[in-house]
Amino acid sequence: MEIVSSTQEKLSTVKTKGVFFEVLVKFALGFWALFIGLLFPLLIALILFYESRLAIEKFGFIHFLTNANWDPVNEDFGALTMIVGTIISTFLAVSIATPISIGIAIFITELAPKWLKPIVSGAIELLAAIPSIIYGMWGFFVITPIMANKVEPWLQATFGNLPLVGALFSGVPTGVDVLTTSLVLSIMIIPFMASVVRDSFNMVPSIMKESAYGLGATQWEVIRQVVIPYTASGIAGGLILSTGRALGETMAVTFLAGNNPQIPKSLFDSFTTITVALANQFTEADTDIYLSSLYYLSMLLFLVSFVMLSIAKFMVLRLEKRWKV
């Protein structure tokens, strides 16, 4: 105590400086947090709203949302096809990626021999570092022909005649369609999801696992009843992160979706998403209402992302409640 007071006396001038500095840093950090977290998104929303006012005036909200027509020549624009496309491809991609990512995480943390762990982890993280345009080119030049010539005809021959499910595999298999897009998208989001899930698996205290083993639980029981419930929120976090990524992914989907503004009736139909429509048409949008409609679309994407992430967050909370007794 004495030492403290003496140094305080000695460094009184420094102290006031220090306090000033502290306040400054606090203020600056607070401002940036507020700006990035709150003002910035709000500003973007406002700008999008301002730019799309022409289209809002002309088409209204409900009509724009439910109109499946996108006809630049006659200047009749509706967002239904793009919103449906975005939701379908995101949903499929996340559904494909989730079990695979959890499997990868379980393998890395629980099953793999020690020497293999860093190799597999590194490889997965490397996947995340590949720019999305590369996925797009790879998907278009490598995956699409395989899908069109091998996988999709086989799927069609196997499932095409079944009742109900058959309709999903109808149409000409072209490779540029919902299935290929979702598949490539899922590969793109797996690294994000897998690393988040792996990190949360690693955080399970070993004492919990060991006591479970001590009680005679098998490895499968430990994973199912200790590790997964304990990390439910981590898994859900990975889910949210990758949902956000899949929603906003543009370049890869631009190559693979075909950009046909139609509601896909089968997995082999080409379709379009909001981001693809924006990327493909923004540069050549030559009339004001056309450009404004594209801005309107991006505002909707903003809203759709917001709503989907909120739903995901809500699901996490419920999941946590149920699993974390």
């Binding site: 027509n69 996108w70 006809d71 630049p72 020549v73 006659n74 278009f140 030049f141 699409t144 022909p145 069109a148 000409v172 072209t174 540029v176 631009t254 190559f255 075909g258 950009n259 046909n260 503004p261 080409s270 990327a279 493909n280 048409q281 923004f282 540069t283 050549e284 949008a285 030559d286 450009l291």
Partner: protein
């Protein structure tokens, strides 16, 4: 402040080399950058051209953020007047129909407006359709499904192609119309020339439309198209320039001229010029741009031809020089 700024720009204008900025169409980008390279080598003046798309080019020059804008489709004279702009064409390109029918290989097919229109409307579905057979009596067309491929992104190529279809096919005009992107009745979309080409190459029975330059560089099969005189012409430097020289270029209409379906026995019907937009109320900046384009018209033809672009005919160039003088932007 303004005076000082003006003095500064005047000073830099006289003492330093010019720096010319432009933005717009992607189609002429390879040529403009080649021109810019040689222009800088010869005169020391720099041209900075950003290929951000025609829509962006029009917007940038309307907002006066660049010295010149570039657009693949001409603006109508009344639109130009509204924004106080002038426009002139630089080079000509064309859209060709390419296909992949393994049975006939690189044989050049004869096609006309009705055939292509019906294919793109989804009415002609097979390569051995009687109408196609009648156009190609000497070719053994197979019983194969036609896979229609179009551009998935907005583009000047689509604009030219659909504009031609609108002129030669009443049903297309009524059902679809023309634009940088349209509501396609059928087919799959590929991104860019390379997307369409890749698609056509991969699907047996595929048909698609791409820029002449791209088809030429990649040695794709190209169809002969029936022009309005009833002659089937193959796309080439000569036939495309023929379309441009038969066109009635009118400087009082700001060269508003669409080169599709032009008269002339040798004229290839699916051609289109690409345009430059200048602002009338910034003559100093516009003069910088015309310095560059004057050089390009006088010395740039060989570079254009190297890249398979078709230069403007000499009489049109003369008209453009007069047009500049009239609007006080001659270099």
């Amino acid at each position: 402040m303004k005076k000082a700024l003006l003095a500064l720009t005047a000073l830099t204008g006289t003492t330093l080399a010019l720096e010319i900025t432009g933005a717009g169409a992607t189609f002429p980008y390879p040529l403009y950058s080649k021109w810019a390279f040689h222009f800088e080598k010869e005169t020391g003046n720099k041209v900075n051209y950003q290929a951000i798309g025609s829509g962006g080019g029009i917007r940038q020059i309307t907002n006066r953020t660049v010295d010149f804008g570039a657009s693949d489709a001409p603006l109508k004279p009344e639109e130009l007047r509204k924004n106080n702009l002038i426009q002139f064409p630089t080079v000509i390109g064309a859209v060709v129909i390419t296909y992949n029918v393994p049975e006939i290989g690189k044989t050049s097919l004869n096609l006309d407006g009705k055939a292509i229109c019906d294919i793109y409307l989804g009415k002609i579905k097979k390569w051995n359709d009687p109408y196609l057979k009648q156009l190609n009596p000497n070719v053994n067309l197979p019983d194969r499904n036609i896979v229609v491929v179009h551009r998935s992104d907005g583009s000047g190529t689509t604009w030219i192609f659909t504009n031609w279809l609108t002129k030669v096919c009443p049903e297309w005009k009524e059902k679809v119309g023309f634009g940088t992107s349209v509501k396609w009745p059928t087919g799959v979309g590929g991104k860019g020339n390379e997307g369409v080409t890749n698609y056509v190459k991969r699907s047996q029975g595929g048909i698609g439309y791409v820029e002449y330059i791209y088809a030429k560089q990649n040695n794709l099969p190209m169809a002969k198209i029936k022009n309005r005189e009833g002659v089937f012409v193959e796309p080439s430097l000569k036939t495309i320039q023929s379309a441009a020289s038969y066109a009635k270029w009118d400087k009082s209409k700001d060269f508003y001229q669409i080169l599709t379906d032009q008269p002339g026995k040798e004229s290839y019907p699916i051609a289109g010029a690409t345009f430059i937009l200048l602002a009338k109320d910034q003559p100093e900046r516009s003069k910088k741009a015309t310095t560059f384009f004057k050089w390009a018209y006088e010395k740039g033809d060989k570079y254009a031809e190297e890249l398979n672009y078709v230069p403007m005919p000499a009489n049109v160039k003369k008209l453009i020089f007069e047009y500049w003088k009239e609007h006080g932007v001659a270099p």
